[in-house]
């Protein structure tokens, strides 16, 4: 009884909990070969894309400007050729696969079991995974950018662009990483140990096929910017500060929505 009276419970603050969890997730990210493999893949993709563009097949001549490897000229949702599609947005396809493997490992190893028996809150888990996944996708955007510049130089195409628009396009796409990361985290929380399904779903959504399909029906409309893929396309070589704001708003709103939904699911379902 005396012991019971002596027991005092400290409620760890949100920042204390998140700091610990982020520390763990970043440690894991930097200590897994997965991260380095995927940032390398991101750097190689532009080379593969530009090799196709320099060939003699259907894709030959799809780029007229080296920066098109990074972003399309204008926000086109209705795709006519690979040149309008194959750019930094491809990071979000591979990012989904990486996030699925990264989070899937939490479940396979039993780490979530260990984590959720502590004072960790479910929303902390969503936030931490989203931030770390977004960071990894931003890193992939960086290596894609470097790879794209090297590949662009190798193609001999001119580097013609408005520097401000280019900066807004790159910034916009990097900002979109947050929204995509939250979507992928959410999908993985739903499918948990069935991470094969998560990978497939993340891949399909990352390609933007649903939005491209919708665009084929409703045409090129700015309304498609409400989707993650839409705003990612919006960040193009003709973008401006407004495009960045749209990307930011879209990314943050979706991140909040997916984090809340993910936390609700985690609270109402068996974790392990």
């Amino acid at each position: 009884m005396e012991n019971a009276k002596a027991l005092q419970f400290e409620q760890p603050s949100f920042f204390q909990r998140l700091k610990g969890m982020l520390g763990v997730d970043f440690y894991r990210l930097f200590h897994t070969p997965l991260f380095y493999i995927f940032i390398t893949i991101a750097a190689i993709i532009p080379a593969l894309v530009s090799m196709g563009a320099m060939g003699e097949g259907e894709t030959a001549g799809m780029f007229t400007n080296a920066w098109q490897i990074i972003a399309a000229d204008s926000p086109l949702y209705v795709i006519h050729d690979m040149g309008e599609y194959a750019n930094m947005n491809m990071v979000f396809i591979f990012g989904g696969i990486m996030v699925s493997i990264f989070i899937g490992h939490d479940y396979r190893s039993g780490y979530v079991k260990q984590l959720f028996t502590t004072h960790a809150k479910k929303e902390d888990y969503m936030i931490s995974k989203t931030l770390v996944s977004a960071f990894s996708m931003v890193c992939m955007c960086f290596t894609y950018l470097i790879g794209g510049m090297i590949a662009g130089a190798a193609t001999g195409l001119p580097f013609t662009v408005n520097a401000g628009s280019l900066l807004c396009a790159i910034l916009g796409k990097m900002i979109m990483s947050l929204g995509w990361a939250s979507l992928y985290t959410f999908i993985n929380v739903i499918f948990r140990r069935k991470f094969g399904i998560s990978i497939a779903l993340c891949f399909v959504l990352g390609t933007g096929i649903p939005v491209i399909g919708a665009a084929a029906l409703v045409g090129n409309t700015a309304a498609l910017n409400i989707f993650l893929y839409g705003s990612s396309v919006q960040a193009c070589l003709s973008s401006n500060f407004v495009s960045v704001v749209i990307c930011l708003m879209n990314s943050v709103v979706w991140a909040v929505v997916y984090n809340v939904l993910g936390a609700v699911i985690l609270y109402h379902r068996d974790v392990y």
């Binding site: 419970f9 204390q16 763990v24 200590h31 190893s109 780490y111 079991k113 984590l115 028996t117 004072h119």
Partner: protein, 300 residues
Amino acid sequence: MNAIEIRNLTKAFGDKLAVNGLTMSVPEGAIYGFIGENGSGKSTTEKCICGLIQPSSGEIKLWGKDYRDQGARAQIGVLIEAPGCFPNYSVWNNMKLQAANLGIKNEDEEIRRVLHLVRMDGAASNKFKNCSLGMKQRIGIAFALLGNPKLLVLDEPINGLDADGMRIMREILLDLSHRGTSVLISSHILGELEKIATHYGIIRGGKMLREMTASELNANCPTYVALKTNETERARDILQQAYGRAEIDEQTGEVRVYGAYAEDVAKYLFGNFGIAVSEIRTAKISLEEYYVGLMQEGRR
């Protein structure tokens, strides 16, 4: 105050009721042996307590607070099934990650302390996947001990441990219990559990069959005289008449007589009926025997 108080806990997986209106309480400082057959609902109950699965209905309180209370949760050390470690990381790094999640300051010192407690100091740099089953169990116990929790929930922690591992485990749990830590431990190795438990809960079909203290169990486990003779059945019938309760142990072929003294029984059989006793000893019903009897009774 009880460390764990469960009232009418129910957990259904689809149509199947894994836990069915379970009520139990683990007093502070107790080592609570949680016993039951495979699939009786022990692990499900423990997972509910730890917040890994959501109860369908019922109430779980930890030190009088709801089990979801973050402050209370921070006081629990858990080993459910196997420890949740990343196989390619070293034992040390896995423990560092858990220490960070627990918000432990001076984590290096704390990790060294718990690894020393389970005699795994030398394995700190080993990759987790390279550890043997017994080593993994010890590491799992070290995980549970991180941060000096006030309540330990251990699911089959003795499985895979060698004799030394079991002894260490016993010493650790007894020491913690003396310091006021409460322990909920499930195990099928009843002989080992009997050496440490202060309370017992026997579960069957998701329901609490019996809950008792070690002294109550002791009272329920009478001493008996076990003897061997060539006329087993005749001896059993005679002793049944004389002492009220006698039976044949089918495994050993011994006759068991309850409420008697060995010397009296031997004299009585030989003196009055000419039945010679080749072996005789006094023994006590073990927890295992009591448990098996209870389960057989339940099936009937």
